[in-house]
Amino acid sequence: MKILLIIPAYNEEENILKVYDNINNYNLDKEEKIDYIVINDGSKDNTERILEENNINHINLIQNLGIGGAVQTGYKYAYENDYDIAIQFDGDGQHDINYIKNICGPIEKGEADMVIGTRYLDKRSSKFQSTFMRRFGSKIISLTIKICCRKKITDPTSGFRAINKEIIKLFSEEYPTEYPEPESTVEVLSRKYNVSEVPVNMNERIAGKSFVNVWTSIDYMLKVILAIIIDNFSIRRRRGKK
């Protein structure tokens, strides 16, 4: 199976080399190497120079598109190069590469079309359980998805996820760019594909900060809920017409 890691990177000069080293170390003792592609989303720092100097396989977006647009570029690349599995993998070192085997398992067995790496499934597996606010937000978004799609997704905002060939094609054609993680989950669910979850470990960011406060998270949550409802509704309507 051809596996591609899609690594979106925006101003990740401090982390990207570490992630690259992790991938190389991971590949050392495996017969089946995994490929990777770094999507440099118009970074303003030295990310591009670092990618260039270290000969890291990458695409420079000529304009900043945001995480959704960047990841979709990766899916388009995966589709063009005929990959069987594409894994979204953060460029800031949050995701643990050793869980790739777990996350690909259900797809390789054909049990799922999309697998989400979840922080909350097993308390022991993840040292980093994130803040109360994030967990609370996740719960509400997850409840909305359950009502709309009748499927429980514990960690809908997790960016550590793998998809199979069919979903790669779907995402390269149509991928939500506003709230990519929860919206793409809904996109897949409302098309009646199988989504499953596996517990993963997430580290705290190696360097840099993520900017979240109470108001932005409430704002985010409300918009996501609205987006989920609209997405679910519009996809169902289109399915109905066909």
């Binding site: 396989n57 695409i59 420079n60 977006l61 000529i62 304009q63 647009g69 570029t73 690349y77 760019t177």
Partner: protein
Amino acid sequence: MQNTLKIALIIIILIYIFFIIKSVKRKNMRINYLIFWSITAVILIISLLIPNLVEYISCKLGFEMPINMIFSLAIFIILYLIFNLTSQISNLERKNTALVQEVSILKKKIQDLEKLYNIDGGGENEK
């Protein structure tokens, strides 16, 4: 018709026509939008030429003052326009995203090929 209203209308129409002619000359606007702006200009001219038209209509519709009708009409037209614009911006954003992605992927392919064939002396193959 009130004098103030008349003067206001004349000024608006003059500015209007000035901008429409300007953009026709520069050819920087699509015919579709030009038609919209021209129609509004024509409506304004008609309301000026027929003295009691605005009063008559606003009275029939139950407005206390003619200017109220003009204001509410203008607000609705502007709302419609903004709605149209936001939907077009979303559309353009989507197209722009697809364009940026396509160009960036092609750029990567070209660079890979250049490296493969050493076109600009760019050392070894990528992997």
